[in-house]
C-alpha cells in the first residue's frame, strides 16, 4: 500500500568522506583554503529530489522534467527562494546513529559547563525573565536582559548534539542542571564525523608537472561507521523528512539507491520509508503540547538553518521578545540542472539550534499553535521564502517565567 499522504522518512548514509563547502574560492595567494561546514538544507533536498527523479529514470534536467518527475516533485524550479506548496518539500532533518538514535543540534539557550576534564553539565537553561511590551526597535535586546542566565567561567562551547529525550525535555521547558552522559544524552561531534584534510595539486598532465601555486587542502568529512549489534557495517546517517507531490509506489522505494552529496559527488545510500500521515517527531510535539498549560510563552527552535532576511520573523503578528542564536554562516550550493551547472549565490544562515522566544497570543497557552507550526518553515513578513528546500524548519518549545 502506498503512503497516501506522500510523506517519507529518508535515510542518507554516507559510504565515503563527503566534502561540504560553500563554493567560495578562498584563496590565500594562489592556494585554496576551503572551509568545511554542515551541508546546506538545499544540498539534502537536492540529493533526495534527484533520488526520486532517478526512480523514474529522470535526470536533474529542466528539459526532461515533464511529465514524469513533475508529478512527484512538482514543476522544475531554479529559484529556490520562492516557496511553492505545489512542489515537494523537505520538512527537516537531523542525524541518526547506527543504533537508531536521533541526534539534534543543541538549543542555543542551553548553556553547558565543563568543571573538569570529561564531564559536561547543563549550566543554565535560559528562561525569559521579564516580559515587557513588544519591542519597537528592529533589533532585539541583549541576551542577558531577558534570559535568566549568569556567566559561568567554566562554561564550554562544544558542538555536541542532543539526544531525542534531552531535546524533548528542553522543548518542554523542564531543564535542570544535570550531568549529560556521552552517547546517551549528548553526542560529541567527533563521534559523528572527523575532518580528513586532503591535499590536492593542480597538474599539467601533458608535461607531468605540477602547476605553480596550485596546492590546496580540502577538508573532507568522514562520518563514523562501525560494526553494529547485528554484525553489519553501519554508519552515521542523515534522517530527513521529505514530502512528494504524489505518492511513490512501494516498488519504487523498496530498493536502496545512491544519493550524491557535496563536492566530488560523494555517495550516500538512500533508503525511503513511508512515514504515515502524521507530522514527524510527533511524540515530542505532543509532550510539548502537554507542557504548554503552565507556560508563559513559546519559542521557535530551528531544526534546520534559516536564511536571514532582515527583520525578525512574526508569529501570529508578534515579534520575538528574545533570541539565542548561533553565529551565522554562509552556504552556497550547486545548481545541477543539466542545462547549465553553476554554483548558487551565497546566503547567510541562522544556524540550526537557534531559538526565538515569543509570548502566547492573548496571553493564553495555545497547544494548537504548537502543532500548527511544527516543522513549518520560518516565515518573514514578506512570505514563505525557501519553503521547499528545508531552510528554517521549526520545532516549538515552551518557556516558563520563573518569577
Amino acid at each position: 500500500m502506498n503512503n497516501q499522504d506522500h510523506l517519507y522518512n529518508v535515510n542518507l548514509m554516507p559510504v565515503e568522506p563527503i566534502l561540504f563547502t560553500d563554493n567560495r574560492s578562498a584563496r590565500a595567494g594562489e592556494d585554496h583554503l576551503i572551509q568545511d561546514q554542515d551541508p546546506s538544507p538545499h544540498t539534502i533536498y537536492g540529493a533526495i529530489g534527484a533520488c526520486v527523479a532517478g526512480m523514474f529514470g529522470v535526470e536533474i534536467d529542466e528539459k526532461q522534467w515533464e511529465p514524469v518527475a513533475s508529478k512527484y516533485l512538482g514543476k522544475f524550479a531554479s529559484n529556490i527562494r520562492d516557496g511553492d506548496p505545489a512542489r515537494s518539500e523537505l520538512l527537516g532533518y537531523h542525524y541518526h546513529d547506527p543504533g537508531g538514535h536521533a541526534w539534534f543540534p543543541r538549543p542555543q539557550h542551553i548553556r553547558l559547563r565543563q568543571p573538569g576534564e570529561e564531564k559536561i553539565w547543563i549550566a543554565a537553561a535560559g528562561n525569559v525573565q521579564k516580559v515587557e511590551s513588544e519591542l519597537i526597535a528592529a533589533s532585539l535586546e541583549t541576551f542577558e536582559r531577558f534570559l535568566n542566565y549568569a556567566a559561568d567561567d567554566k562554561e564550554c562551547e562544544i558542538p555536541d548534539l542532543f539526544s531525542h529525550d534531552l531535546l524533548k525535555a528542553c522543548l518542554c521547558g523542564n531543564m535542570q542542571e544535570n550531568e549529560l552522559t556521552p552517547d546517551s544524552d549528548r553526542l560529541p561531534l567527533e563521534r559523528l564525523y572527523r575532518h580528513e584534510n586532503r591535499l590536492g595539486l593542480g597538474m599539467d598532465y601533458e608535461r607531468n608537472q605540477t602547476l605553480t601555486g596550485r596546492l590546496f587542502s580540502r577538508p573532507y568529512r568522514r562520518y563514523s561507521a562501525q560494526i553494529d549489534s547485528k554484525g553489519n557495517w553501519s554508519g552515521m546517517s542523515i534522517r530527513a523528512y521529505f514530502k512528494t507531490t504524489a505518492p511513490l509506489e512501494n516498488e519504487r522505494i523498496q530498493n536502496r539507491r545512491i544519493a550524491l552529496l557535496g563536492g566530488d559527488r560523494g555517495r550516500a545510500i538512500a533508503e525511503f520509508e513511508s512515514a504515515g500521515d502524521e507530522k514527524p517527531l510527533l511524540d515530542i510535539c505532543r509532550a510539548v503540547q502537554q507542557a504548554a498549560a503552565d507556560s508563559d510563552g513559546f519559542y521557535l527552535y530551528l531544526l534546520t538553518p534559516a536564511v536571514r532576511e532582515g527583520d525578525w520573523p512574526l508569529i501570529k503578528g508578534a515579534k520575538p521578545l528574545a533570541a539565542a542564536i548561533g553565529k551565522d554562516r554562509a552556504v552556497s550550493g550547486w545548481n545541477s540542472n543539466r542545462q547549465g551547472q553553476h554554483p548558487r549565490p551565497i546566503r547567510r544562515l541562522l544556524p540550526a539550534g537557534s531559538v526565538l522566544f515569543y509570548p502566547w497570543p492573548e496571553g493564553k497557552p495555545d497547544p494548537q499553535l504548537i502543532h500548527e507550526y511544527w516543522l513549518e518553515p520560518l516565515t518573514y513578513k514578506n512570505g514563505e521564502h525557501y519553503r521547499n528546500s528545508g531552510f528554517g524548519r521549526l520545532l516549538i518549545g515552551v518557556w516558563k517565567n520563573e518569577n
Partner: protein, 437 residues
C-alpha cells in the same frame, strides 16, 4: 546519463611501496601517508586514483573508453579562449581505495595478511547493492566484542605469533558455522589470486588492525644527493610508505550507457614516481590477471606491428633503450633528447600523432650527412618510437599522410609515455657542478 548506476569494485595492489601524501603531519615523520581519520589505516585517495586513471585513458583509450565522457570535460586551454565551455560532469564516480589486506611479519618471520573486518563488512554491504548478498553477522558480532585492551582475530587457517603489545584473543572458527565459507567466497571474489593462499590471513577488529598497521608501515629515510652523489645539507626526510603487496578495493559507480569498460592496468599512484614508488596493478573484479610481461619483440620493420604492446612490454623496451645511452652518457645529446621528447608529446596532444611524427622527421633531417645533436636526438627518438632499425632514410620525403591504426597509436603512445618518464629520471639536463661545458 543513466539514473541507476552500474556499481563495481576494482582491486588495486601495490607492486612497490607507496606514499599518498597527507595534509596532516606526525611529529616523527616528514611525509606521512594519508590515513583514515578514525581508524588511521591507509587508503588510496579517490582524487589520486581518478586523476591517474584519467591520464591513462586519455593517452591509451581502450575499446569503448572516452576520458571526457568518463571523467568530465576540461576547459580549453587559455590560448584558445574562444572555445571555452562549461564543464560537463563525468559519468564515472571513483571511490577511495579502502584497505582489503596489508602484509605484516609475524614473530617467526612469516608474512601474514591483515584484513580489517570493518572494511570487509563494508564491501559486503556495497556488494549487496549489486545483488551479491553475503552476510556474516556472527563473525561481525564476534569481532565486535573486542575492547580497547583485548583484540579479536579470526585466523585463516591459523594464527602465527605476532609482535604486538596488544592482547589478541582468537575467535574459534568452529563457533562461526558456515559463515567461514561465505567469507572465503567473498574474499576469493575480492582478492582473486592476488593474495597468496598459502600465507595466513588474519581478520581482525578495528583497534587490532590499527595496532598491526603501525607495525606494517615502512618508514624510509631519504636524502637528496647532488651531482657528485654527495648528500645535500638538511635534506634528510622520513617517509611513511604503504608496503608492497597491500591490496585495496575502490567502489566505482558508472552512470554512462552500457557496462563500464576497464582493462587491467599497471599505473603509478602517489609520490615518488621517479624513484619507482607507487607502481601498482589494478583490475576490475572478475577480470583476469594483469597480462604477464613478455620479452620485448626484436626490432621489426619501421611500422610497428598491429599487436598491442602491453604496458609492461613498453616499459622494459624503453628502459633498455635509455640505458644504452648511459654508456657513456653524452650530456649534450641527452639534453636535446629530453627537449625532443617533451616537444613531441605536446604535439601529439595538440595536433595528433601523424603531425607530431612528421614534425619530428623534419627536425631529424635523416638525409643530412653531418647531423647536429638535436637532429641526432630526433632520429633516435623516431627510431625508438617506431621500433625501427636503419637510418630512417626510407622515411625521407614521407609525411605520415597515412593514418596510423588505433593499435599502432596505442603502442606509440605507450612508448612515448615511458620515454617521458624515464627521461625525467635518467637523462641529464645540466653539466655536473664544477665541470666545464
Amino acid at each position: 546519463m543513466r539514473t541507476d548506476p552500474q556499481h563495481l569494485f576494482i582491486r588495486i595492489q601495490l607492486l612497490q611501496n607507496a606514499n599518498f601524501g597527507a595534509a596532516s603531519g606526525k611529529v616523527t615523520l616528514d611525509r606521512p601517508t594519508q590515513v583514515d581519520a578514525y581508524l588511521e589505516l591507509p587508503f588510496v585517495p579517490n582524487s589520486t586514483l581518478r586523476g591517474v586513471l584519467r591520464n591513462q585513458i586519455e593517452w591509451y583509450p581502450g575499446a569503448g573508453q572516452n576520458a571526457d565522457a568518463m571523467f568530465g570535460t576540461r576547459l580549453k586551454q587559455p590560448e584558445s579562449p574562444q572555445v571555452l565551455r562549461e564543464n560537463d560532469p563525468g559519468k564515472l564516480i571513483v571511490g577511495n581505495g579502502d584497505p582489503l589486506a596489508f602484509p605484516v611479519l609475524s614473530a617467526d618471520g612469516r608474512r601474514c595478511w591483515v584484513l580489517p573486518y570493518v572494511f570487509l563488512a563494508k564491501f559486503m554491504m556495497l556488494d549487496s547493492l549489486c545483488g551479491t548478498v553475503i552476510q556474516t553477522p556472527r563473525i561481525g558480532q564476534s569481532l565486535r566484542q573486542a575492547d580497547p585492551k583485548v583484540g579479536r582475530m579470526l585466523a585463516l587457517p591459523e594464527a602465527p605469533p605476532l609482535e604486538t603489545s596488544r592482547k589478541i584473543k582468537p575467535v574459534p572458527p568452529a563457533s562461526l558455522g558456515d559463515e567461514i565459507d561465505l567469507l572465503r567466497t567473498a574474499l576469493a571474489r575480492w582478492a582473486g589470486d592476488w593474495l597468496p593462499a598459502d600465507e595466513p590471513w588474519l581478520i581482525v577488529d578495528d583497534r587490532t588492525a590499527t595496532a598491526l598497521w603501525l607495525q606494517a608501515a615502512e618508514i624510509r629515510d631519504q636524502t637528496a644527493l647532488d651531482e657528485r652523489k654527495v648528500a645535500r645539507d638538511q635534506s634528510l626526510r622520513r617517509i611513511e610508505t604503504v608496503p608492497e603487496g597491500t591490496l585495496f578495493l575502490s567502489w566505482l559507480s558508472w552512470l554512462g550507457e552500457g557496462d563500464l569498460s576497464l582493462d587491467p592496468l599497471t599505473i603509478q599512484l602517489g609520490s615518488g614516481e621517479g624513484k619507482g614508488s607507487g607502481f601498482c596493478r589494478i583490475a576490475p573484479l572478475g577480470g583476469s590477471k594483469a597480462a604477464p610481461a613478455k620479452a620485448p619483440q626484436p626490432p621489426a620493420e619501421p611500422r610497428p606491428s598491429t599487436r598491442i604492446e602491453s604496458d609492461s612490454e613498453a616499459m622494459v623496451y624503453i628502459y633498455k633503450k635509455i640505458q644504452q645511452l648511459q654508456t657513456p652518457p653524452d650530456r649534450t645529446f641527452q639534453k636535446k633528447l629530453r627537449s625532443a621528447i617533451g616537444d613531441v608529446g605536446w604535439r601529439i596532444k595538440s595536433a595528433g600523432m601523424e603531425t607530431a611524427l612528421s614534425f619530428a622527421l623534419a627536425k631529424a633531417k635523416p638525409d643530412k650527412p653531418d647531423p647536429k645533436p638535436e637532429q641526432l636526438a630526433y632520429r633516435w627518438l623516431l627510431k625508438t618510437l617506431l621500433n625501427a632499425s636503419g637510418d630512417l632514410s626510407s622515411l625521407a620525403g614521407q609525411l605520415f599522410d597515412q593514418d596510423f591504426s588505433p593499435e599502432e597509436k596505442i603502442n606509440l603512445l605507450r612508448r612515448w609515455q615511458w620515454l617521458r618518464k624515464y627521461s625525467e629520471v635518467e637523462l641529464v639536463t645540466a653539466n655536473p657542478e664544477g665541470a666545464s661545458s
